[in-house]
Symmetry: C2
Subunit: 515 residues, 2 copies
């Protein structure tokens, strides 16, 4: 195996002509002594890790993506391995002085003729799945809801063939929480908007307990209280004589909604009805080279087709925010971006921590030295469009185009928050690999490297590795990914997480105390 690696031609990628480091592509890394063009490697450089292309003095800037990702803590001669211990973190962009809407990208040419088969809803949104979502106002009911969902799947679902699935929207919020704390607005808004995700077709059923702090009707602020209560089943209602009666009650209300949902059928809609969420997790140095730029290209295609694309993950965007505020459509949007960054700075400071808690050990092993390098790779997902709206965590999207939906970077929290914002399909890029999936919306998992795509052949849905080997361009891979998005949105293709039924829990972002 080692011999085979040694015989492979040494390959590396420099992203920007001004970079003084490149990324080693060869799967076993490159041993010391390797001749890489006119550079002789001084150290063994693992795959996806950085090698210096010039002599860098102590304190000298290390440049990737054309941006400074850190300063050398000792002299690094040409051909050195640059790992996370050798870089000092640059100071983060000062929010107050950032330019807003100064480089708003011109609209790219409109893209006509792309469609998918979606479920059109009464409120104008379009879903990619036809799912009965059973909301909950408090975690206390989770066991009962899980039990009811099992029975609904067994007994009722087969009678309604147009309905794809039944999902219990269990979460840890609702009681034992500081519901009057200022930040409680975040989880409450998230739960309200989760219930309205387009994949649930406007059919709302809330199972509550009765004594919880989060009143079930709160989840439907758009309905008058009496109408809202028609969608609520409270386990403590005096009419329920025991557990079996509760289950029967849930089944009866579920069946009414299944009948409605069963009337929905897929119809051809323009690609402008897509609401795609973007995320990365378990990233490596290839994330910013292969998968994220290809996804950025696909994102541009969706925006050109008139659709909606959300990117998120505040802590991974923070160190590259100076590249985003100029792209905001107008100053107001730019200020909203700053507001979300500042909120998170304060939130981390209050917890006596900072952005250095990111990246993870796996990121570092994958060649990502620090949060600056990770951020630069992460925002490659956003493509090159202007940013048309900035959402606070859990707010529902109201514009088309490229949206920044502020969320934590935690995969499962980000997924939950994007669902609340109205995302109906997610694309998730990963370099290290994760079996991540969501029950409420399909997730396309994109591998940054061909080795991962091959090894996890029954978990990864798409391989962006050919970009690294030069077998395909970013544009070609991005176009393929765009077409896969349309196929999955149409139900023509099923991501692996749905084939196996492996899904993560909802993780509602609650920045307020539990009590």
């Amino acid at each position: 195996m080692n011999q085979q690696v040694a015989m492979e031609a040494p390959r590396s990628i420099r992203l920007n002509p001004s970079d003084n480091v490149a990324i080693v592509v060869n799967s076993g890394g490159l041993p010391a002594g390797t001749q890489m063009g006119d550079i002789t490697l001084i150290d063994h450089v693992p795959q996806a890790h950085k090698v210096t292309l010039a002599d860098i003095p102590e304190g000298g800037a290390i440049t990737r993506y054309g941006e400074v990702i850190g300063y050398a803590i000792k002299a690094l001669p040409r051909g050195s391995w640059v790992n996370e211990l050798l870089l000092e973190l640059p100071t983060p962009p000062e929010l107050a002085s950032l330019p807003l809407a100064t480089k708003v990208p011109a609209d790219l040419p409109a893209l006509e003729g792309y469609t998918f088969e979606g479920y059109r809803n009464a409120d104008g949104t379009v879903g990619t799945r036809n799912v009965l979502g059973i909301s909950t106002s408090v975690h206390c009911v989770a066991g009962v809801v899980d039990h009811a969902v099992r029975i609904i799947k067994e007994r009722l679902l087969p009678k309604y063939p147009n309905v794809d699935d039944v999902v219990g929207l269990n979460h840890l919020y609702g009681c034992g929480v500081a519901i009057n704390a200022p930040e409680a607005v975040v989880p409450i808004r998230t739960l309200q908007n989760l219930a309205r995700n387009p994949n649930f077709g406007g059919e709302i059923l809330v199972v509550g307990l009765g004594c919880e702090k989060l009143r079930p009707e709160t989840l439907m602020p758009e309905l008058p209280s009496d109408l809202a209560m028609r969608n609520v089943l409270s386990l403590q209602d005096e009419g329920f004589t025991g557990f079996q009666a509760m289950i029967d009650g849930i089944l009866a209300m579920a069946e009414e909604r299944l009948e409605q949902l069963n009337r929905r059928t897929r119809e051809t809609v323009p690609a402008s009805e897509l609401v795609v969420g973007l995320q990365c997790g378990g990233s490596d140095a290839f994330s910013g080279v292969t998968a994220n730029p290809a996804l950025g290209y696909a994102a541009d295609l969706i925006v050109r087709a008139g659709g909606t694309v959300m990117f998120s993950e505040v802590t991974e965007v923070r160190d590259a925010v100076h590249l985003l505020t100029p792209r905001c459509a107008d100053e107001e949007t730019g200020r909203a971006m700053l507001r979300e960054m500042k909120w998170y700075d304060d939130y981390l400071a209050q917890g006596r921590t900072d952005r250095s808690a990111n990246p993870s050990p796996g990121n570092k092993k994958g060649g990502l030295s620090n949060i600056v390098e990770k951020a630069l790779g992460s925002i490659a997902k956003s493509g090159s469009s202007k940013i048309s709206q900035v959402l606070a965590p859990g707010e529902r999207v109201t514009k088309k185009g490229l949206i920044f939906a502020a969320t934590p970077a935690s995969d499962f929290v980000c997924g939950t928050q994007q669902l609340a914002s109205g995302m109906t399909l997610q694309v998730f890029t990963t370099g290290r690999g994760t079996p991540y999936g969501l029950a409420a919306a399909p997730v396309i998992k994109v591998a940054t490297r061909t080795d991962l795509a091959k090894r996890w052949h029954d978990l990864m849905d798409f391989d962006a590795g050919p970009v690294a080997t030069g077998e395909a361009t970013i544009e070609e891979v991005g176009q393929q990914l765009f077409e896969l998005i349309l196929d999955v949105a149409s139900g023509r293709k099923k991501p692996w997480s749905d084939v196996w039924g492996i899904h993560n829990a909802l993780a509602v972002f609650n920045p307020a105390p539990v009590t």
Copy 2:
């Protein structure tokens, strides 16, 4: 129905001779005009709500449990209904000036001869169940673990008849969290100690991803790293070519542990091996009259038998802490109690909230006007023993007797934290009713009122209502509850939550930011 209620003799309970309010017992409440002894009711007083026994002037103290629970915001003549809008909250006990270990209760007479059938572990602990617990270092693996657990239950568990269950210990921690924040110690310690719960028999299996911030070996700090890694399966290990290989890997490691667990058999052990957690949720004004005092009596019996009893729920204890610090075994224990109260005061203040976020609307509907009244009823669970140890959230118990294990009051967070502290059976009192249950330990649910026990006949395990009607004394009901605890600990009786298999998720307390 109303007529029937009207014909019932009016019944009320005054707990302490110095109280100027009593609790109405009659299930429909009592209408205005009712003659209750020599008092004529001025208002309709709902069941479990307070009625004034004397004229209380504006600003006058309202006294229950012999303690001031609030001050009247207007004059309340004898026979008035006292609801939550009529009380002003007293200031909480000043921590700095509280007496420590000044009234340490003398040991009650030892209780000999009580035993249960438990599973003795190599480390000296005794379990009440024989469960394979599959720990996880990060939520990313949850879908895979859930899938594996389903297959293990189907294919493997039937071959190991002495093993009761297989439980995936999924949680939302592990990555996307500020792992270096000072408060990260709480969730990390909790996960470490969860894996060691006596019901898991010392068999540890950790499924990790590979790139997460919480290294899987961290969960076993007592083992050297190489030994610890023998208990770890990381999905990103290069040996796993895809999902099916991961599942096969988990099954193989699970089977080794099932073989070990299958060798465990129940043996007769003294009741001193009990580690019982106490909790209340969905409380009403009867909680502090029937269920909690009866549970307090049972707690005293366990302590007299040499066993361990934990009570918890900092925010519900805070307003009665001046009654607890004198009961601490020594000043050091008293200071630990103050430390936990202060930590929570600070935590709530940081989130710009305070104790008034508790009680819940259901509590108020159930007659609990404010947190002071709730706290006084809540600590009745602790009985009358001295407090021998105070644990920070997630710390493992190391002493016998009555323990204060600091946790949030949130039912599912408290349950998770008590499991980490080594609790092997929980007793949960409820007035409003909740279907709460835990997968890792049996939960005995105690109704505060007979109506609830009857209505929720297949969810409530025990009825403390006869205390209110005078059909049984606190001592009699407490003794019955103690005997039920021994039956359930022995596996002779199964609580309803285990009959139905309805269990809440683990909710690990994480006071640090997510990232």
